[in-house]
Symmetry: none
Subunit: 400 residues, 2 copies
């Protein structure tokens, strides 16, 4: 029996509450000097670390730099090497398109068609405003094809995401994109028999949009690729008998949370909004995923001072979480985003768990290198979820 | 190739001797202050820890609280998520019924049958003494059915274990138990063709026992459930070319040891009896599993002082083991039983290995948190066996 099945079989509904605070891209790297987290003043996180138990986790396994998708799935207890998310799904989530079980999504480009050839796959990189205008125009004139409803979401420049919703749609479709310029457009081809009606819907959509756009100078057709359905993934409710809620204000993380069954709590863009949402909805759920983004953004920018500030800003809000006395309060990250690397990295995530039955260790500072000496040791992030469920009393005994 | 197969292929018979001392339920938890093991004075275990190498092991994996079955199988080198023991087997082992390869066991209840309905599934919770009398009465009148010999062992109140012994018996049988009261009794049904003769034996047994018991006011029939055969599990002799012996005085652990092929050395209930048995039989085997129970019992009771005393009592006997100079002396536990939790937990087990080629580390105290800093690190308990075999020189090189 694999880990997921064992944990699912052992899980039990209880009244205990779990708060999982994910500080995106928290970890840094120092060849000398300090990491961002070490340089930050974090009296509240340090106090939690001192009262709880610490360790380090590898998002996938050692050496693997994860994207946001696998990094979060892993934290939620899904083996990231088994549950793979298609590009189309991640693109959709990234621009805030919610994907349900009956939806088919794809990445789209506005493109230029001249004399039967795609002469510019990006329609001269039209502006984002132009993109929004075109999507709006299309939306008002094309709401449905063969009873599949259609939803278009503009992205940056020439990019958009399209969502088709109907019960029987399949993602076994080839890209409707010649990939190269000065080639003829290609239709989406059904890669299996039951995908034929889906190919029909998609290709009719492309023809209809091209008709609507025919008077446009550049953006007079569309290319679609990366067709994806909702992944086959069990929900946290079924796996762990949780009532889970997500408090996140970026589309990608809201989308990931929805994929695994979390309720999405509406929340504003300020850090205080996250805490307000937690307090308001605290009685309604037993599992809260809180996502804090600023650490990752400043890491991507390589802005050491901004990342320190983002960490210190968050630290000031920790007492408001602790004051709710969740049975388990876990603070960790999805992946590291060291300023010196200006991007995601493979470095492990610091983890702290505060709970009544956490074995207290000597770590009294929440940082990458302090956590390396913690009692939890170093392990794969996919084991975080069983561990916090255990600390919350939500797992029965395995065998007699 | 999986770990078990690799280790089996590399194992070699040598004259070196291994003593594996399992201190049941040893680990505790401290959110502040000390664990039971930290509070105990253990000069002899500390000396061993200082002279050897230490680490922490997770019985199954992080967050999973194991029962005694999977916890011991893991220590003996069996993947606990692959070798699953049925409830019937564990119940049988728990009351001291030895289960061999030709045996079929089940959990039984005495029950009340009135006018064709099971009106009480527990026969009014008859006393244990009454249960013993009934089992005795039945045993003297019903020794065999269709050349399957029958063995009945009373448990507490209305519970018993029945064992049928014949070469071709199958456990592919449904429960002979309506599960609810005021329903008609149900026979065991064969769940596959070759189980038909077994169903016949079981159902004839139920009818015969009911005939014998018909004059009883309450306990006038029996219900059977959880039919189990001996699991398909390779023996330590074949896996590791060991001559293994178990020194354990509780039925469950003797039963588990027998399942994996160990000889059972007769032993009394005192701690000194364990040591006497080891000394007397030291020349006859090359692997000794010694099981010490008192730590677990006092942990289950939540009795901090009693658990400290149990640990200190054991510590006084360590020099007698060390004086035999086994090539490998390993001290660990099957699972933690923290007094504050009054039951098994998921917390890892301290481990020490004293052997000529053990890498000495700085750990000079045998405790949960001291072992966290040991050279062995933290790992799954299923890797303990390869590690102690290696330290005993019983594993050849893998590949050239």
């Amino acid at each position: 029996m694999n880990r997921e099945k064992i944990v699912a079989n052992l899980s039990q509904k209880t009244r205990s509450k779990i708060v999982l605070l994910v500080v995106d891209g928290l970890g840094g790297v120092a060849s000398d000097g300090q990491t961002e987290l070490e340089a930050a003043e974090t009296p509240n996180l340090d106090r939690l670390a001192a009262a709880g138990v610490c360790g380090l986790t590898d998002p996938v396994f050692r050496g693997i730099t994860p994207g946001s998708g696998p990094a979060h799935l892993s934290l939620f207890g899904y083996e990231p090497t088994s549950y793979l998310l298609g590009r189309g799904i991640l693109e959709a989530l990234g621009v805030g398109v919610m994907v349900g079980r009956d939806d088919l999504v794809a990445r789209g480009n506005f493109a230029t068609l001249q004399e039967g050839l795609i002469t510019d796959r990006r329609a001269g990189r039209i502006t984002t405003e132009e993109n929004q205008r075109l999507c709006q125009q299309r939306s008002s004139r094309l709401k449905e094809i063969d009873s599949a409803s259609i939803h278009l979401k503009p992205g940056k420049e020439h990019r958009f995401v399209v969502k088709f919703s109907r019960k029987d749609l399949s993602d076994r479709l080839s890209d409707a994109d010649p990939q190269k310029e000065n080639e003829a457009p290609v239709p989406a081809l059904a890669l299996s028999e039951e995908a034929a009606p889906s190919a029909e819907v998609v290709n009719r959509f492309i023809r209809s949009v091209s008709d609507i756009l025919q008077a446009e100078p550049k953006a007079n057709t569309v290319l679609l690729r990366g067709f994806s359905k909702h992944p086959v993934i069990p929900r946290l409710q079924e796996l762990y008998k949780l009532s889970p809620a997500a408090i996140a204000n970026y589309p990608m993380y809201r989308g990931l949370a929805k994929l695994v069954g979390m309720d999405l709590i509406p929340v504003g863009g300020e850090t205080s909004d996250l805490l307000d949402a937690l307090e308001v909805h605290y009685d309604s759920y037993d599992f809260f995923f809180i996502h804090y983004k600023k650490t990752d953004s400043s890491g991507e920018d390589g802005n050491f001072e901004a990342k320190i500030k983002a960490i210190e800003d968050l630290d000031r809000f920790i007492p408001r979480i602790a004051a709710l006395h969740p049975d388990v309060l876990a603070v960790t990250s999805d992946h590291s985003t060291p300023c010196r690397m200006k991007g995601h990295s493979w470095h492990p995530n610091p983890l702290l768990i505060r709970a009544a039955n956490a074995q207290r260790d000597k770590v009294d500072r929440f940082s990458e290198r302090a956590c390396a000496g913690g009692y939890l040791g170093r392990f794969r992030a996919v084991e975080v979820m069983p561990l916090i469920l255990a600390h919350a009393g939500k797992l029965k005994k395995f065998g007699a």
